[in-house]
Each structure stands twice: as structure tokens, then as C-alpha cells.
Amino acid sequence: MTLDRNAVQRIAELAEIAVTEEELPTLAAQLDRIVDYVAQLEGYDGGDELPGFLPGPSQTPLRPDVVNPVPLTRGPATLAPAWRQGYFVVPRVAGMDDPA
């Protein structure tokens, strides 16, 4: 057994996922099975001599450093939860007066 309930609870916290007490036993058993399965790579010692492999272009292509307009399909007002006079309305930041 690689992963117990406490370990799974800790991983879930790192992943920012709420897991209930009832879900924990099954989830821990399943994750333990997955981790045991992928751990079969442990015995492999090769590959160090090979260059790291990533498919696709050999280097990140650069584009000209030119400012272009970004045409929006829908304006920012349609995406904003709240919008007033051309600005996003956000919750008040602590210690500052609300200008409105």
C-alpha cells in the first residue's frame, strides 16, 4: 500500500479538491491501485543517454513584436459579472473608500 487515506486527503488539499469522509476509502483504494500500476517504471534505469523528447517544433516560434488589435467576438461587458461606465465592477478592496 503506497497511499493511505491521510495521504490522499493531503493530495486532495494540494489539488484544491474537496473530498468527503465517505468518498475517501474508495478514492484511496483506487489511487493506490493506479500509483502501484504506474510504479512499474521504477525498475527502468535507461533513457539517460537519450535527448529529452517533446514532439512538435524544435523551438518556440517567435512572432514580430507588433501590437495588433484583438477583435473580440463579444465585448467585455457581456463577459463581466458587473459593468459600469466602461469598467469592470469588482468587490471593494479592504481599506479603500467606494468611489460610488
Partner: protein
């Protein structure tokens, strides 16, 4: 047939196939509107060809949900490059199709909106994760559909459903607008009723896109020219893909296909890809690791409904949103990814998997450099399995992709084509080509398609 008539007919077929649960969004009104736009274009390359689209590819005017509660009702503010290119070529975007949540699964049972049924036997799965697209093509609703592959999610359902499934070389097709799962693996891929249908769509959507930094600066994938036979080609059979416990029906169909390759002038040679047996565990470290980072954005602030049931702090909001919004398989993958990337385990898991990925890719490169033009294998170790058969054991589900996921790790092109039936269910054969030899691979698939009776029972 006018484009409007095509649109009406595909709407009727979608309605008739609704029992498969293969679609998530479509409307007759939208199809009519698209038909009017295409007719106004005059002549176009695809002339109103209906193409269904997996619901993890961003479209304007319809939701893009990834089969997840966390994106229920979400509408993308922009459209994927592949969709824009299809529309410009005169295709009709017929429907958004059901999938395993965030493309994580091999059976399309892990959708938040219910499982997709196999068109031949509703008790079975169509494969996954692009099961909705595969089922619609197999049911004759559309001639072609888009799916996506991270670890075989188009070739495997193509094999289960008896249609053509093409995974292009990594970088040949833009990922702009494909919802990210494992970015070094993700690839928009194509289903077709025939190799030609799939090739027409692949030709349309491929080619350089400045909006995707991993897109190759190359012209679109060329159409196959209708090669007659395999003469002059050396086809390798990797021994690791023909294990002794291979399903007998799959073995019989692949044996018949290999005999056909020989009869049609191909030189068939045994080869070995010794590291391929580690492809599934390697994949299930790398893909979840990348997924755990890519899916961090679904937190109730950037994406996802922000409705905590109690007053909580910011982390509480993240945790409640993600705990409730993600289904069980997505949670397992994110947790696995978080674990293998965590301090103290990174080298043991992720570092080792990266080295294994290099070794797997080097095996393929070595075989192709040694004079082999293409590889041929079964696509899947069995035919379509029964719904519920593998849902309790994640690792058993992962092993359904044992013959397909090495191709994704190596960035190579692969195609599955129907090669016969076993107990009434389709069997797929797979060609794997060297990097950027997508057209040669389609030529070979076309030769098999024209010479094998794919719906015939093989014993």
C-alpha cells in the same frame, strides 16, 4: 442535393439517432442558418458536408462543456481554428458530441451527461473518449466528425465502432480552441465513414496556425492519391502488439489483414518496439501530470460556477467548486497528477516517465530508420466491451488503450481502419507512420479499405 436539403436530412438523422445519447448540443434552426451561409458562398471545398464536433472544441453560438458539470452552459467567446477552417471550406457543424469528461476515459461512460451507446449493440460502449463522434459516424448520421486524442481517444472508438479514425502528427493541426488536457499530447483528430472523408476533413483543418505555438510551419496534410497496392512498401509488425492473449477474433481479423497486405505486394517484416509495453504506465504519469496543471483554471473564479453553499474563504471556494464540479475519473487523474509532481516523488515518477517517453520514441525512430515504411497492428486488444465492465477498475479501463497510446507519446501519426467483424462487432487495424508521413499512412489505410470486406465476420 442542395445544402439546405443536406441540413434538413442531417437534422432528421440526428433526431432519429437521439437514443444513442451521442450529441450534447445541436438545433435544426442553427443547421438551417449555416446552410444559408454556405449556399451564399457559392462553390466550396466541402460543399455542405456535415461534420460533428466533440464538445471539447470551442464553437461560437453553442456551448462547449467538455462533458463536465463544471462547464455546463459555458459558451466560448472565441472559436477554434479547426472550426473556423471547416466553416470557411463550407462544412456544416452538425452537432457537438458527447465525450468522457474532459476527454478522460476509454468508454464515454464518464460523461456528466450520461453514457453513449454503441450503435450496433446498445449494451456496449462505443469506446472513448470521443465516443459521441464515433457513434454518429458509425450510425450514418454524419460522414465525418472531429474528436481529439491525448492517448488514443479517436483510434480506439473508431476501432470499436468500425469507422476510420485518424490521429495526425503532433503539430500538424492547430490546438487553438481545443480545451487543454495534456498539452504535449493533445491532438485534434478525425473520424470518417471512409478514409477519403476523413482525409478531406484533415486536409481542411491542418496547416500552420500562428495562434498555436506548437503548430508546425507546414502546408496542410496532402490528400491521398488512391494508391492501388502495397508494392514497394515495407510493413513492420511489432511483436509486442501481437501478445499471446490477444482476443481470438481480433487476431483472426488482423491475420487476414496481414495476408491481404502481402497479397497486395507489401513486404511484411517482424520488428520489435521493446519499450512499448511501458507506454500505458508512462502515459498515466505524463497525461495526469499535465492535466493537473491544465485543469487548475476550473476553480469557480476563472471558470466554473461560483456558488459555495456556505460562506467560505477563497480556498474553500476553490475546493467546493472543484469537489462538486469534477466527476470521479477527472478527480482521479488530477489527484494522480498532483501526486506524481509533488516534492519527493517528481524524479521517481515524472522524471522517469519522461525518460521512458524518450525511449519509446527512440524505438519507433530506430525501426523507421531501419527501412520500415509503416507499422501495422491491431488497434485494440478486444472488440467493444459491455457498459459497466471496467468502470470499477480504472487500470483495467486504461489497458483498453494499450496499442494506441505509444503513438501519442511519440507524436506520430496513426490511423485505425475497419478490417472485419468478430461476433458481429467491428475490429480495427492500425497503421503507424513516421513523423509527418500522414499522407502515406492514409494511402495505406485506403488500400486496405478498398480490398477488405470490413463488415464481414472473420473466423
Amino acid at each position: 442535393m442542395s445544402v439546405r436539403e443536406i441540413a434538413t436530412e442531417v437534422g432528421q438523422k440526428l433526431e432519429a439517432a437521439s437514443g444513442l445519447n451521442a450529441t450534447l448540443h445541436w438545433s435544426a434552426g442553427d443547421l438551417r442558418h449555416q446552410a444559408e451561409v454556405v449556399e451564399a458562398m457559392g462553390r466550396s471545398a466541402l460543399g455542405g458536408m456535415p461534420v460533428a464536433v466533440k464538445d471539447n472544441i470551442a464553437t461560437l453560438g453553442t456551448p462547449t462543456t467538455c462533458g463536465s458539470r463544471i462547464l455546463e452552459g459555458y459558451e466560448s467567446p472565441f472559436e477554434a481554428t479547426v472550426i473556423r477552417r471547416l466553416r470557411e471550406a463550407g462544412a456544416l457543424i452538425a452537432a457537438k458530441t458527447n465525450l468522457d469528461e474532459f476527454a478522460m476515459g476509454s468508454s464515454t461512460e464518464h460523461s456528466a451527461f450520461g453514457r453513449v451507446l454503441h450503435p450496433i449493440d446498445p449494451a456496449r460502449v462505443p469506446g472513448g473518449s470521443s465516443g459521441g463522434s464515433a457513434a454518429l459516424v458509425a450510425a450514418g448520421v454524419v460522414p465525418a466528425a472531429l474528436g481529439s486524442e491525448t492517448g488514443g481517444s479517436v483510434r480506439q472508438p473508431a476501432s470499436f465502432c468500425g469507422v476510420v479514425g485518424v490521429k495526425p502528427s503532433y503539430g500538424a493541426v492547430s490546438r487553438y480552441g481545443l480545451v487543454a488536457f495534456g498539452s504535449s499530447l493533445d491532438c485534434v483528430s478525425v473520424f470518417g465513414r471512409t478514409v477519403d472523408d476523413a482525409a478531406r476533413v484533415l486536409h481542411t483543418i491542418s496547416g500552420h496556425d500562428p495562434l498555436d505555438a506548437t503548430s508546425l510551419d507546414r502546408p496542410p496534410v496532402a490528400m491521398p492519391m488512391g494508391r492501388k497496392n502495397f508494392s514497394g512498401l515495407t510493413i513492420g509488425l511489432p511483436e509486442e502488439y501481437f501478445p499471446s492473449d490477444l482476443d481470438s477474433g481480433v487476431r483472426a481479423a488482423t491475420d487476414r489483414a496481414v495476408a491481404a497486405i502481402r497479397d497486395l505486394g507489401g513486404k511484411v517484416v517482424p520488428v520489435s518496439l521493446p519499450h512499448s509495453r511501458f507506454a500505458v504506465p508512462t502515459y498515466y504519469i505524463i497525461a495526469p501530470a499535465e492535466a493537473s496543471a491544465n485543469l487548475a483554471r476550473y476553480d469557480g473564479v476563472r471558470y466554473g460556477p461560483s456558488r459555495p453553499d456556505t460562506a467560505v474563504d477563497l480556498r474553500g471556494l476553490y475546493r467546493q467548486t472543484r469537489g462538486r464540479g469534477f466527476g470521479p475519473e477527472v478527480r482521479r487523474r488530477i489527484l494522480t497528477g498532483t501526486y506524481v509532481l509533488s516534492s519527493g516523488y517528481y524524479d521517481a515518477y515524472y522524471g522517469k516517465a519522461q525518460r521512458m517517453r524518450s525511449a519509446i520514441a527512440a524505438d519507433f525512430q530506430g525501426v523507421f530508420a531501419g527501412g520500415v515504411d509503416l507499422l501495422f497492428t491491431p488497434t485494440t486488444p478486444s472488440t467493444a466491451f459491455k457498459a459497466g465492465e471496467k468502470t470499477d477498475d480504472p487500470v483495467a479501463m486504461y489497458l483498453a488503450d494499450i496499442f494506441v497510446c505509444a503513438v501519442n507519446l511519440a507524436g506520430l501519426p496513426g490511423v485505425s481502419v475497419a478490417i472485419g467483424r468478430s461476433e458481429g462487432l467491428p475490429v480495427g487495424g492500425q497503421f503507424i507512420a513516421p513523423y509527418l508521413e500522414d499522407t502515406l499512412m492514409l494511402e495505406a489505410a485506403g488500400v486496405l479499405e478498398r480490398n477488405l470486406p470490413a463488415t464481414e465476420e472473420v473466423r
